[in-house]
Symmetry: C2
């Protein structure tokens, strides 16, 4: 072994980056995965951490331990701040070291997305989103605290504002959060207070669109709307959220006093497009070619939520399945290049279906032309989410927790923990 193996740098340890790293396990390359956090998070269950059902450790795994057995792979905790595609280097801040340059032979950018307030960045301070474990823990602390505050509040208007919860955006996250809060007030918190009745919480799900879960069929949208209403959720459709501040929101012309507003609407891609200086779509996502590389950069792949690729005339959705399939494809493609084999046929996304959960016992499912809602869809949802967790031990642990919470109404992690600043 005199020639040095080519180095593949992967930025991001989400679904796309992790799939790429695992796909390179047996390739004749060295792999370096860089992420700004030490763990891979199963984002579809973040709302269960925010609502105290699951503990952070049940939906997250250290990236290092997921890749420990892969001898050709290293992991680095660092914040990528740019790419120099001329000298083929990524630029990383790590610890107190700023602007470390790491040379790559191949680069896979799987840098994901963050919240977008559609030009209203002033909303961010009052309507946090849900993208990381830190977001979920902050929201968990907040949700538990407003009930504590309501219990000692004598003024009825202030008490009602503390017990009002507004989700802005009726996509899967908004629907899941609204229904999870409803279930929490009706089960876990039911007997725990003496002055307030948690069941009297006012839960609002707002969207400018005319139906919730817009990526599902109209029939399933309507089924989920009805189920949301049966949970006591105030579903407000077709009107824009005009203002969000510390007192609450204005939806259409109506002001709602609320101490909790959660942003479950838009997402914005990572700055990967800016780093590369390449063409992006309207949302800012990198326009990639059917082989997932960036035009004129055959050694740079972009995958997942930060990439834009049309299939059948429509852009692929920003979901975990797309990211995982793209990460795997990028890995195979690099394997072939490194081994001198002919290139793969263009990437094709295989859509296994679409699922969203609405509270306890109810989900909507559409896949390959058939669609249904209710308890069976909910069971399918639960099984699929358990199956896709990154580690066997987590599957076991989440399964037991769900059975326990389902039967007892108790939650696994109903803790207010405020870290002090600094270390």
């Amino acid at each position: 072994m005199t020639t040095k193996a080519p180095l593949v740098v992967i930025v991001g340890g989400g679904f796309g980056g992790l799939a790429a790293a695992k796909g390179l396990k047996c390739s004749p390359v060295e792999v370096l995965l860089i992420d700004r956090s030490n763990h891979h998070v199963f984002q579809p269950l973040l709302y269960q951490v925010a609502t105290s059902v699951l503990a952070p450790g049940q939906i997250a795994s250290p990236i290092r331990s997921l890749l420990a057995e892969q001898a050709n792979t290293s992991v680095m905790l660092g914040d990528v701040t740019g790419v120099d595609s001329v000298s083929k280097q990524v630029i990383v801040d790590a610890d107190d070291k700023v602007g470390i340059r790491i040379s790559y032979d191949y680069l896979i950018l799987a840098t994901g997305a963050t919240h977008s307030y559609f030009g209203h960045d002033e909303f961010a301070a009052f309507a946090p989103g849900l993208k990381s474990l830190a977001d979920a823990e902050s929201l968990r602390n907040h949700l538990l605290e407003v009930f504590e505050k309501a219990e000692i509040e004598d003024d009825p208007a202030r008490r009602q504002a503390l017990m009002t919860f507004v989700m802005v955006g009726a996509g899967p996250t908004g629907v899941e959060m609204a229904s999870a809060i409803a279930v929490m007030t009706r089960t876990t918190l039911r007997k725990d207070f003496r002055r307030i009745d948690p069941k009297s919480a006012h839960i609002v799900l707002a969207d400018m669109a005319s139906r919730p879960l817009g990526t599902f069929s109209e029939k399933l949208s309507e089924a989920s709307r009805q189920h949301l209403v049966s949970l006591g959720i105030d579903v407000r459709l077709g009107k824009p959220v005009k203002t969000i501040n510390e007192d609450g929101v204005v939806i259409g012309d109506e002001r709602i006093q609320a101490k909790t507003v959660v942003w479950t609407a838009g997402v914005a891609p990572s700055p990967a497009g800016k780093w590369l200086g390449c063409e992006v779509d309207r949302a800012g996502r990198v326009r990639i070619q059917p082989d997932l590389t960036v035009p004129n950069h055959p050694d740079v792949f972009v995958v997942g939520d930060t990439a834009s690729l049309d299939q059948g005339g429509r852009p692929l959705p920003g979901v975990a399945q797309v990211a995982m399939q793209q990460g795997k494809y990028a890995a195979s493609s690099i394997f072939r290049m490194a081994a001198g084999q002919p290139p793969l046929p263009p990437f094709r996304y295989f859509d296994k279906g679409n699922l969203a959960v609405v509270g306890k016992n109810f989900a909507v499912l559409q896949s390959a032309g058939f669609q249904f809602s209710g308890f069976v869809a909910w069971l399918v949802w639960a099984l699929i989410h358990i199956q896709f967790l990154a580690e066997t031990s987590l599957r076991f642990s989440v399964f037991l927790q769900w059975v326990w919470t389902y039967l007892s109404g108790k939650r696994g992690d109903r803790l207010i923990i405020r870290q002090r600043s600094g270390s």
Copy 2:
């Protein structure tokens, strides 16, 4: 029911306060428990949260849910700032309400202890202690981060400082932390790094005393010292820690560069003595009478780590068992007063024994005249700690986690999560 039931205010939801609240379940009184956090923590296992074995939710339970079935009991999240024993009121800050006054008929102060730096408060910034879940989470983040930083550090001296861990104080917490870090470097972290070898970590356990675990017999102290050394721990006894700063510590005349220093030495009682303006011992603990009340205040009980009571010529130790037995006694005593029954005989502490764990498979145990160390003591330690957890679901969950960690070497909660400041 025309007469209002007397109100018992309990301050603190630790072992003492919780035992008192539970003991008043069937008493003809109203109970209000006030704590500044929403959860009861099983402090003896905090070090396992700090070393990523257990998740915070596995050793903590919401105080509200622990007392939800007790119809005569309310819970309040608030920070007690004083007691007015003349007008019989406690003074509480809660949310944005400062100086709320709550009148009591009986008061139980179970306000515990915090770290004491023995007059060296400047050490606090560099040598955090381990008393709350927030402390444990901060330390967990820090311990995981120093290995990440060491992995990317090129300077050998700085790398060594990142991989040096100093425990100041060789009581049970210091011994447990030092051995838990040693086990972590030899099991969980073993295969996860490419540039550093976690096993080369330098773990120092320092104490001015001439032996570790000073409350145990000399024989058991020596057995644990030998086991610590066999784990590769650098046990430094008989020399004072003179300086602690951002670079490390000075023990005797020797400087040790270390980026991690944990304060496992002294504790200081809560300010209960100041609130009451009553006699305190040298450490600042309230001198209570054999019926656990404060002299001249037959309606004020002080229990647990913040109380000072001699038995057999020696002060009772600041351990969970004492707090629990005292809390239960105070509850019975109030029950009798409220029911017009004759008073209890004076409080007697029944010492069930003393246990400390040293890493994997080894503990020391002394109880009722017999003493032993090794694997069997470790099994006893594990069983007793599981048994004393507050909820059945936690016992089950901790048991499974321990079996899993024991067999696989993997940990349950190896996550770096830094909350942003604010909410």
